[in-house]
């Protein structure tokens, strides 16, 4: 792995003894909730809506916990960037097995680049050996934070991971790509983003939920990390997708082909 000038040097640490994992977790509208656009078109309705940890981040936390259980990692730090209430998602990660949390409190929208910059600042402080993120968040589906973070750090990235094997100075990631699986080996420190098939997250057990209460969460503001998290983009308007039109029945394959060719003009 090469380091281009101007990017962060890898943190100094003895991976054989200490292997810190950093897992960012995002507070999003629960996947069971049918999302509705706000009446004024400025975004989606989040008031009185059940919020949960982004499902891909749950997979990331699970992977980190499994690595720690296997003895491949020594500490897991869960980070959330969002409103004060995002402490709930950190607490969930702690109940799943993370050791401590960091909440960077930001009200309102935070764009992937701002998140990546904040994570970079935390990485410089905490010096983790591996960052495991969800491949994307189910609210804005950006699929960008992991990649941007890798670019900012100048580290290797293994996105869409369906398998992660951690060694002392490298991580081997099996990636789900179009047409099959690709396996990459990255020098640590590195960035991995979790895909759906990486694992099936556990539910936090009752004793672990009770233990989570005693685990620390550090509260920070972007200014504490010297990062300007203000949005760079402006949302002009959010609209519902158009309602699906009723379908039509066709009598035969010939008729179908005819309609696709002459009416829909798609073939």
């Amino acid at each position: 792995m090469r380091h281009s000038p101007g990017v962060a040097a890898p943190p100094q640490q003895d991976t054989a003894q200490a292997m810190k994992l950093l897992v960012p977790v995002k507070r999003v509208v629960d996947y069971n909730v049918k999302v509705r656009v706000k009446a004024d078109g400025t975004g989606v309705e989040t008031a009185n809506v059940k919020m949960s940890m982004n499902p891909f981040d749950e997979i990331a936390v699970e992977e980190a916990v499994r690595l720690k259980e296997k003895g491949a990692a020594t500490e897991i730090i869960a980070v959330s960037i969002g409103p004060a209430a995002a402490a709930e998602q950190i607490r969930t990660a702690l109940a799943m097995g993370a050791d401590r949390g960091i909440l960077v409190e930001v009200e309102g929208a935070v764009e992937p680049l701002a998140v990546a910059k904040l994570l970079k600042a935390i990485i410089m402080k905490e010096e983790p050996g591996l960052i495991i993120l969800g491949k994307q968040a189910i609210d804005d589906d950006m699929n960008a934070t992991g990649q941007m973070l890798a670019a900012l750090m100048g580290w290797g990235q293994g996105t869409f991971a369906s398998k992660v094997e951690l060694a002392a100075d490298s991580v081997t990631v099996t990636r789900e790509v179009d047409g099959g699986l690709e396996t990459v080996k990255l020098t640590l420190p590195a960035i991995v983003t979790a895909d759906l098939r990486l694992n099936e997250p556990r539910y936090a057990s009752l004793p672990n939920i009770m233990k989570a209460r005693k685990k620390p969460i550090e509260n920070l503001k972007p200014a504490d990390l010297g990062v300007d998290a203000s949005p760079r983009l402006t949302t002009l308007k959010v609209e519902e997708p158009p309602k699906r039109q009723a379908g039509r029945k066709v009598g035969s394959v010939a008729e179908l082909v005819d309609k696709l060719r002459n009416e829909a003009k798609v073939i």
Partner: protein, 388 residues
Amino acid sequence: MTMISEEARMLQDLVAKFVERDLMPLEPAVLAREAAGGKWALTDAEEEVILGKCTELGLWGLDVPEAMGGAALDTVTRMLLEEEIARTITPFEFPPDSPNLHMMMAVANEDQRTRYLQPYADGKAKSGIAISEPGAGGDPAGMITRARKDGDDWVINGRKIWVSRVPAADFIIVMARTGEGKRAEGMTAFIVEKDTPGFIIEREIRMIGGRLTYELVFDDCRVPERQVLGELGQGYVPMQLRLNVRRLQMGARCVGMCRRAVEMMTEQAKQRVTFGVPLADRQAIQWWIADAAIKIHATRLMVLSAAEKMEAGHDVKDEASMLKVFATEMAGEVIDQAMQTFGAMGMTKELPLHLFAQQARLMRIYEGPTEVHRMAIAKRVLRRGAAF
């Protein structure tokens, strides 16, 4: 009013997931079994899998003190969990399986704690309680089962009925008269082990909702002095203590059942079209839904408020009575309207609704019938006014 802690919410979430992923998938099998005239209860094989899952998730001994290896959850949290577990018709209770725990914790001596309470708290021993008699149910103080002292032993004679959980129970708490006092005076609790001679399971009685209860005969049933639970002649008050916990639990369960009923009802109302319009657009149906939502909310607040008061160590006899009446009646109405919304489908044994309806119906009788609770509430209001 209670602020529900983050931890309580997480635990509620955990139980909600457990219910959805582990209990609800058993519903079709449970319904089919019940429809075919079989038992509602889980089979041993089903129960084993579920208990394994509970161990894994630490969902065990929720109200058992920490010193006895339990989770020692506060009453408010426990009620939230009760609410979740009632969303499925798959019959399951987190072990230990009944509120005898509270009566025993209040009065059991050291020896009884070791022999009965600890194994029970560990979920290893099961138990039941025999209060009702053919001639005394809603008015338990009218019971006539009697225990008389004979040397170092007590000899119990009498008949108990409608007793739940009997065949599986390792021991039964039996209420009997020992003194000369009238009504609630002179009543004593005894721990009677399963195979004690003279303790006879007379018959199994099938009830609606797939429930089974038993008639028991005590024919010169001899138990040693150390089986006396609590103080001689003072059994009535701890027995009531047990019932209060149970009544709060029943309130929470009604909320859980109704939440499910409303979920099913709204889904059906949105997709079912009659006379060219979805049922959800009809005011008749909308009012059922609105009234259900209002009543569920009110009942939940009653549950949480009583739970909070109980947690603070106060007597919740009145709240428990009000809740018992209100929750069970509202469950009857809400579930009935859900069934009505489903038309003929609501009359089938394929949906869980009919079993919910029957559970709610049973609840108007056990742990004190509705009318007796109303009587008790009225007595108090007549005496002291309606200030709470």
